[in-house]
């Protein structure tokens, strides 16, 4: 028997959709030269439900739950993003107290999302320990969400015209307690990462994303700020109450995976700062606009078109709604930040080792409910 020389230098390999490091159902089609990745093509759509079409078939108030299910670790920010567009279209202004409550909940949700990301990223890098610390911290936040909405993950807390129920004293006490205990514990978790040599050597200088490439690919959020662009929708086009609070935008100029990690860490601390100020400034008053009370809600009619953008934990989350004067939207389009952020993997995942590809794809912060919608 004669063994012939291999004619093809490159090997094609499928990574995923069930690979443990791909955060759900991402499939990467790799072209390998030894252990070096020559070409990477992300294949998505395994979690596709077509939420845009479902929204067209539902009343304005009912569509909210599909936004919960987009970025399920950050559901409160998603709700705030949808309502920002829907309320502008329907001409309903929520009262000031509701806006403050939404700001607080969106920021707590951002912290929860970054915590999950940090834990999962540690797992990608072969560190099991931080995962448990991080999920323990997140449990406190989920308790707050449960107290407010009755649900841990898919909260459905906000609604058109306000929020589902008011903050009571117990929730405010829980948030204040969280603000006191969290920074010290976060510091502890942070040290588990940055004082680990393996973590540093696996992220420093890996996955360099240049500024102009990032902007051309539509990358936003911590990934863009990790590439040295000081851009945050909360500052650029303030929504809710972000123009009334004082906070900074963390930026890293190292452009690598470690930079993105540090940006997210600092963002959590800035979120705490926002929540602390918001708790002091929150006024008494109604938490719901009576124009949108439950019996009237399905009769709300929207006309014209609105594009509203908000800063979710992953980047610029935009909702574009076109109404035709009926009780259901004519067209809903969602700009999901991770969809754009993932598309840049074709650029930064080239000519790296497979192990580094795991570090790079992890640093994007992928949640597939949102990529596939």
């Amino acid at each position: 028997m004669e063994i012939s020389e291999p004619t093809n230098k490159y090997v094609e390999l499928n990574m995923g959709p069930q690979h443990p490091s791909t955060h759900g159902v991402l499939r990467l089609k790799l072209l390998l030269d030894g252990e070096t990745v020559k070409k990477v093509e992300p294949i998505i759509g395994y979690l596709h439900r077509n939420a845009e079409k479902i929204c067209e078939l539902d009343y304005y108030c009912d569509s909210l739950i599909y936004f919960d299910r987009m970025d399920y670790v950050n559901s409160l920010s998603m709700e705030a993003g949808y309502l920002e567009a829907a309320e502008k279209l329907l001409g309903i202004e929520p009262p000031e107290r509701a806006k403050w409550i939404r700001t607080i909940m969106a920021e707590l949700s951002r912290i929860a999302s970054h915590l999950v990301w940090a834990g999962a990223y540690g797992l990608d890098m072969g560190m099991l320990t931080p995962f448990f610390y991080v999920f323990d911290l997140r449990e406190k936040l989920l308790d707050i969400f449960t107290e407010a909405s009755g649900s841990r993950l898919l909260t459905n807390y906000m609604s058109i015209g306000g929020v589902y129920q008011d903050f009571n004293e117990k929730i405010i006490f829980m948030i204040r307690e969280f603000l006191e205990t969290f920074p010290k514990k976060l510091e502890e978790v942070f040290n588990l990462f940055v004082k680990n040599d393996i973590f540093i050597s696996r992220t420093k200088g890996i996955g360099i994303l240049e500024k102009d490439v990032a902007i051309s690919y539509g990358v936003t959020g911590p990934m863009l700020r990790g590439s040295g662009v000081e851009y945050d929708v909360r500052k650029a086009e303030p929504y809710l109450m972000y123009d009334k609070v004082n906070f900074d935008i963390p930026v890293s100029y190292s452009k690598d995976c470690l930079g993105r990690f540090l940006v997210r860490y600092e963002e959590m601390r800035q979120s705490l700062k926002i929540v602390r100020q918001a708790l002091d400034k929150i006024p008494e008053g109604p938490y719901f606009n009576p124009k949108a009370k439950k019996s009237l809600m399905i009769r709300l009619r929207g006309d014209g078109e609105v594009y509203a953008r908000t800063e979710s934990s992953k980047g610029e989350f935009g909702v574009y709604i076109v109404g035709d004067g009926s009780v259901k939207p004519y067209r809903v389009r969602v700009r999901s930040p991770t969809f754009k952020n993932l598309s840049v993997l074709r650029e930064i995942g080239k000519d790296v080792m497979i192990a580094d590809l795991v570090a790079i794809s992890g640093s994007i912060d992928l949640v597939f409910g949102e990529v596939d919608r």
Binding site: E52, G218, Y307, A308
Partner: protein
């Protein structure tokens, strides 16, 4: 000379420009040169007798946001992938779900739905009652068919 018609601002106070399909590439190039370096979103809207394509452009430096609209009656629109890289996946998604054919796109195939899916779900005349099944062939690629027992 490119014809760019400015329309009254909408409820979200963003400037709206309307261009003809033939002038789209020239208009987009001029917007890009004016500093709109970030193509945020491409949306296709099925208006039943025509398809409206909406582009949301954004300038990161100046923090300005504009909307450019064009429309087509035969489902084809020139591709803007040569100007912004992010148009690649956005146009593929709009082809996939809305059936807009972007002329000059380097790799125009379905992105969210599997190969062989019949129809475009976001069209207003899409038949929701027809059930399609997703199967996998031997090389691991998905494809859709009307037969549930089909496939590997």
């Amino acid at each position: 000379m490119v014809d760019i018609i400015e329309e009254p601002v909408g409820k979200d106070k963003r400037k709206i420009f309307r261009v003809k399909k033939e002038d789209l590439i020239a208009a987009m190039k001029s917007f890009f040169e004016q500093g709109f370096d970030h193509l945020s979103l491409i949306t296709g809207i099925d208006r039943r007798d025509k398809i409206e394509v909406v582009y949301h452009l954004h300038s990161v430096e100046r923090n300005e946001y504009i909307v450019v609209k064009t429309e087509t009656i035969n489902d084809t629109v020139p591709s803007v992938t040569s100007i912004w890289q992010s148009a690649d996946w956005d146009e593929r998604e709009q082809y996939d779900l809305m059936g807009i054919i972007f002329e000059g796109h380097p790799n125009l195939k379905r992105i969210l739905l599997p190969e062989g899916w019949s129809g475009f779900p976001l069209r207003k005349n899409y038949d929701l009652s027809k059930v399609q099944f997703v199967n996998m062939d031997e090389s691991g690629n998905d494809y859709a068919s009307f037969d549930p027992g089909d496939g590997w």
